[in-house]
């Protein structure tokens, strides 16, 4: 009676698997223990039914297996038995539903004293906003968003001027304070999910949804996007950091309000020229780069990216990994321009250089084009870089530099630092370049795009990357 035996084994095996599984809920880090209780009730009821029904099945198959000369019973129905089964099942269902609805009642009514913070998703990263001293968030609309106003705040709404803008994938929250996270999307559907908090909700463009919870454990927790949002979906990662009240206040003091964000100082190239002297010795007088000194071209690169990289070097996010010799050299150099004003002057001067011409290396451009498709979503069809996607310009960078960085990303030499979200994202994407040849091909294709860029700006408007 193989089938009886196997069903018994599957029942026993499933129960053993259940109790020995190391794959189980992460330790709870919010106040939603009621959700875990509801799950426990459901597990017990369903487990009992699973075991009982299948044991009965196994027994029936064994007891009434075919025997020559035996004859089955004739029993069209049994109203009493059917009535009892109906009743018991209904009770079991009610026992699971009632606590579920009760807890859902709590979920739909966040407490009045919950702090409202905003999480904004866009392909494939997060930004956040905290209320300023007035305790409320100002109006926002994605149609107003741009480089100086990434969250699209309404400049005419006074409630928004002191809102704190966090242009990073990291949300910091205060321990034991109820928080209602308002969810907004700039482009497609996303989802705000933190497994340790147990709650999740989609971000829907055109509307605002929410989750609420009370963080109860100090620590850091992954934010995952759990609604398919395109090729970068799996790489859309963020993090919640829960801090004790003191630490939280310290952190808060260092953040920029919308007003400060708007007033970022413009740089003056004349002042920047002096700062550039040191850089120029490696990167070239006109930022054209120098392969023998392992210094990439700076000319043509977007200022926001250069600024982010300078800070990354300063803060140890880049150049600190084992194996990144050239990055390590840059750390000390980056520290020469510490204050924001100096950086802005420097970048203004670099911005005055003309982008250098780079010749593509011979390679399989067709393969490169195929591979570049995934890159193009963020870096642009012409590799021109897209601020909104946090993606730097690639055309104009020399083949040796691009190849090396791709290798670094692939080997997690870049993107290894836990705070380097954008690098980590690129590292995930770079994994799909499977060979040296792939890297050579895609780099050659990127370099070939520069000529097309030039052609575009000379009047060609062909946008047929599709």
């Amino acid at each position: 009676m193989a089938i009886t035996l196997i069903i018994l084994l599957l029942i026993v095996g499933s129960v053993i698997f259940h109790f020995t599984s190391v794959w189980w809920f992460t330790p709870l880090a919010s106040h939603w223990s009621a959700i875990d209780t509801t799950i426990d009730i459901t597990i017990w009821i369903t487990a009992i039914v699973f075991v009982a029904v299948n044991l009965f099945l196994a027994f029936a198959v064994y007891r009434y297996r075919y025997k020559a000369g035996a004859r089955a019973a004739y029993q069209p129905e049994n109203k009493k038995l059917e009535g009892w089964l109906l009743l018991v099942t209904s009770i079991g269902i009610a026992a699971m539903l009632a606590p579920g609805l009760y807890v859902w009642g709590q979920f739909v009514s966040p407490p009045a004293d919950a702090i409202e913070v905003e999480a904004v998703g866009q392909q494939w990263h997060w930004q956040f906003r905290l209320p300023g001293t007035d305790g409320q968030l100002g109006k926002a609309d994605i149609r107003a968003s741009g480089e100086l106003n990434p969250l699209g705040l309404d400049p005419n709404d006074p409630a928004g001027s002191d809102d704190i803008i966090i242009d990073s994938n990291e949300l910091v929250l205060e321990l034991d304070k109820p928080v209602k996270v308002l969810l907004r999307s700039n482009d497609v559907l996303h989802n705000f999910a933190v497994p340790q908090f147990r709650v999740k909700m989609d971000l829907v463009p055109g509307t605002v949804s929410f989750v609420w919870f009370i963080p109860t454990v100090v620590g850091q927790f992954d934010i995952l996007c759990e609604e398919l949002c395109g090729v970068g979906h799996f790489a859309m990662r963020g993090r919640v950091i829960v801090k004790s009240p003191d630490d939280y206040q310290k952190w808060l003091a260092g953040q920029q309000s919308y007003q400060q964000y708007q007033a970022r100082l413009a740089g003056d190239p004349e002042f920047g020229k002096a700062h550039y002297q040191v850089c120029g010795s490696c990167h070239g007088a006109n930022g054209e780069g120098n392969a023998t000194l392992n210094a990439p071209a700076l000319a043509g690169q977007s200022a926001w990216y250069l600024k982010r990289q300078l800070k990354a070097y300063q803060q140890g996010l880049r150049g600190t990994a084992e194996g990144d010799l050239f990055g390590a050299q840059m750390i000390a150099m980056a520290k020469l321009v510490q204050d924001d004003q100096a950086i802005n002057h420097l970048l203004a001067y670099i911005g005055s250089f003309a982008a250098p011409d780079v010749q593509p290396q011979p390679a399989n451009l067709q393969n490169g084009q195929r591979l570049y498709r995934n890159c193009s979503y963020c870096h642009g069809k012409r590799a021109q870089g897209v601020y909104a996607m946090n993606a730097p310009r690639l055309s104009g960078l020399e083949p040796w530099y691009l190849s090396r960085q791709l290798q670094y990303f692939k080997q997690r030499i870049r993107g290894h630092h836990p705070k380097d979200f954008y690098g980590a994202q690129m590292s995930l994407m770079a994994q799909s370049l499977h060979s040296e040849q792939d890297i050579t091909d895609v780099v050659a294709f990127i370099n070939s795009l520069q000529q097309q860029q030039v052609a575009d700006s000379n009047g060609g408007t062909d946008d047929s990357g599709r």
Partner: protein, 588 residues
């Protein structure tokens, strides 16, 4: 009625002409059923291959140069859509519905044979359009089988250029095909039953197919309109589902649309679709269980009502797919309640299947093994559904591998178990040959155990919180290394299961030629399709006279009767009786 029968008969004789009219442009429901079945199985093998490819990436990340984040999503999407719509729906209704309805209700054919033929060719066209999307620039859509806008039609999603449009067109064509077929099935069941075949004497197979078809006719239009609206959003710049959005850093011209509206429309189709697949399976497995256990189905009337009630309720549970979609959260109360209520009639069906086995005389034939496998996997999948239906538990589990494990168990593995049971059960009637039993048993064991090894662990990855539709998990703090080993083992099991299906295909082909002759009624079943004068039945099914029905479909082991089955078309007077008193008693 008699006149109609004779005219029909003449017409059918006219058609038995050339090879083309008999086997290609055939209006015989049986040939159309085989055409539907073969097409569905072939396209299903493509979907099976796609699932193996995506499992390779999940089990052994970045080892295969032909898989990248974009193609991974394309595999996921096409696998899902093909399996749900182009395999399961088409095979269960277009294949089994077509073959069994006229035979089981005692009709000579569908009431609209020409429309029936048109339905198949239209279905084939939809499959061709779908397959063609693999070869257009940008490839097929990778928006996930749910095709949620805005991402489905925006760059950044694979196939946003042409793949998604091909998908929408293909779905539109499929729905036209389904409507032609569906109207036919409903009309045939209502109008063409033979004398004596009352509704409450119909086999549960027919009840399942009948209710599922009505549901399809009501549900598919919601998908059709949403496909048309999304098509217009994409090519004509309308904003049905498109609010003001950015795309890759640029503002688009859309404004005012609602992505959630699409989800409501999609799931208003999508949830009934689950039961469009499940109800025919429920029906067929009931008949397989009764026949091979030599016992009447337990609680027939309750079973019929359960099918009807499940069919009705399934139209008011759709938003349980949307608990975390950002819709008004108060909907959660209503949809959680309706969803858990639907578990009651479903549980009744499970009890009745097992009570059918109870005190039976169970022949462990290959169809019976698959039917038992169905009960086990369906119980598992049904119970895990109680987690997801209960709105608060869906919060942690939604969009994780728990969902993947659940719906594969409940609408992947278990209906497929029934499909296999049904193929092993009815193949002898379709071909006149028995399938090879040894290969069949091997096929059963490998499929049953293999799929359990695939889907049970997935539930636990879901408890852990591993999200679905991720190309790679890299760099997530809460996911231990061991999750990757588990994924590797799932992949190995999945590939074994996939390969074993080739043995099944081999069995089908080999048995056509070399199988044992089946005879008219190898399982000694009561229902009408086994009482045809010819096996395989000829065009027109019944020869000179249509059968007349005298009893319900489940007169197995009737006390006092000599044989342990009495076909539906045998009057009491023709039954060989050994114990008159007991027989008369049972007749009450």
């Amino acid at each position: 009625m008699t006149a109609g029968v004779e005219v029909g008969q003449k017409e059918h004789e006219d058609h038995s002409g050339s090879f083309l009219t008999r086997y290609v442009w055939s209006q015989d429901h049986k040939v159309i059923a085989i055409q539907y079945g073969v097409t569905a199985i072939l396209v299903g093998l493509v979907a099976l291959l796609l699932s193996a490819l995506m499992r390779l990436q999940l089990g052994f990340p970045d080892q295969f140069s032909f898989i990248n984040p974009a193609s991974y999503l394309q595999f996921v999407t096409m696998h899902g859509m093909i399996m749900v719509v182009y395999l399961l729906t088409a095979l269960l209704l277009g294949g089994f519905g077509n073959y069994l309805i006229p035979l089981m209700v005692g009709a000579r054919d569908m009431v609209f044979p020409y429309l029936n033929m048109l339905s198949y060719w239209t279905y084939l066209l939809s499959v061709i359009v779908l397959m063609a999307s693999f070869f257009v620039p940008g490839g097929p859509t990778g928006a996930g089988w749910t095709l949620y806008p805005p991402q489905a039609i925006l760059p950044g999603t694979p196939g946003a250029e042409m793949g998604i449009l091909m998908m929408l067109i293909s779905l539109g064509i499929f729905i036209v095909a389904f409507t032609m077929g569906g109207l036919n099935y409903v009309c045939t069941v209502l109008q063409a039953r033979t004398r004596g075949m009352t509704l409450m004497r119909m086999p549960l197979t027919i009840w399942g197919i009948f209710v599922a078809t009505i549901m399809g006719l009501l549900a598919f239009p919601a998908l059709l309109v949403s496909a048309i609206m999304m098509f217009l959003d994409s090519v004509a710049g309308t904003s049905f589902f498109m609010p003001a959005v950015m795309s890759l850093g640029e503002q688009l011209d859309h404004s005012g649309g609602s992505p959630i509206l699409f989800q409501h429309l999609f799931w208003f189709f999508g949830h009934p679709e689950v039961y469009i697949v499940a109800l025919p399976a429920f029906g067929m497995v009931s008949d397989v269980l009764a026949t091979h256990a030599r016992k009447n189905i337990f609680g027939y009337r309750m079973m019929v009502w359960a099918i009807v009630i499940i069919g009705g309720l399934s139209f008011v549970v759709w938003a349980h797919h949307m608990y975390v979609s950002g819709m008004n959260p108060y909907f959660g109360f209503f949809f959680a309640t309706t969803t858990l209520i639907i578990a009651v009639p479903t549980a009744i069906k499970v009890y009745n299947w097992i009570l059918t086995l109870w005190r039976g005389n169970i022949h462990l034939t290959v169809p019976m093994l698959f039917a038992i496998g169905f009960i086990f996997t369906f119980v598992h999948g049904g119970l895990s559904g109680l987690f997801l239906g209960n709105v608060v538990i869906d919060l942690p589990l939604s969009d994780t591998y728990f969902v993947v494990g659940h719906f594969h168990m409940v609408m992947g593995v278990s209906p497929v178990m029934v499909l296999f049971a049904a193929i092993y059960h009815w193949f002898p009637k379709v071909s006149g040959k028995m399938l090879h039993t040894g290969l069949g048993k091997f096929h059963f064991w490998a499929t049953f155990l293999g799929t359990y090894a695939v889907y049970l662990p997935m539930h636990y990855l879901g408890f852990l919180g591993v999200p679905r539709r991720y190309y790679a998990m890299g760099g997530t703090d809460f996911i231990p290394e061991s999750a990757q080993s588990l994924n590797a083992s799932i992949t190995v099991s999945a590939i074994i299961v996939a390969v074993v299906q080739l043995i099944f295909v081999f069995n089908l082909i080999w048995s056509l030629r070399h199988g044992k002759a089946a005879g008219h009624n190898p399982w000694q079943a009561t229902t009408l399709e086994w009482q045809t004068p010819d096996t395989p039945p000829k065009h027109g099914n019944w020869g000179a006279t249509q059968p007349v029905v005298y009893r319900w479909a489940y007169d197995y082991s009737v006390p006092g009767a000599k044989d342990d089955f009495i076909p539906q078309n045998v009057p009491d007077s023709a039954v060989e009786v050994t114990d008159k008193l007991a027989f008369a008693e049972a007749g009450k």
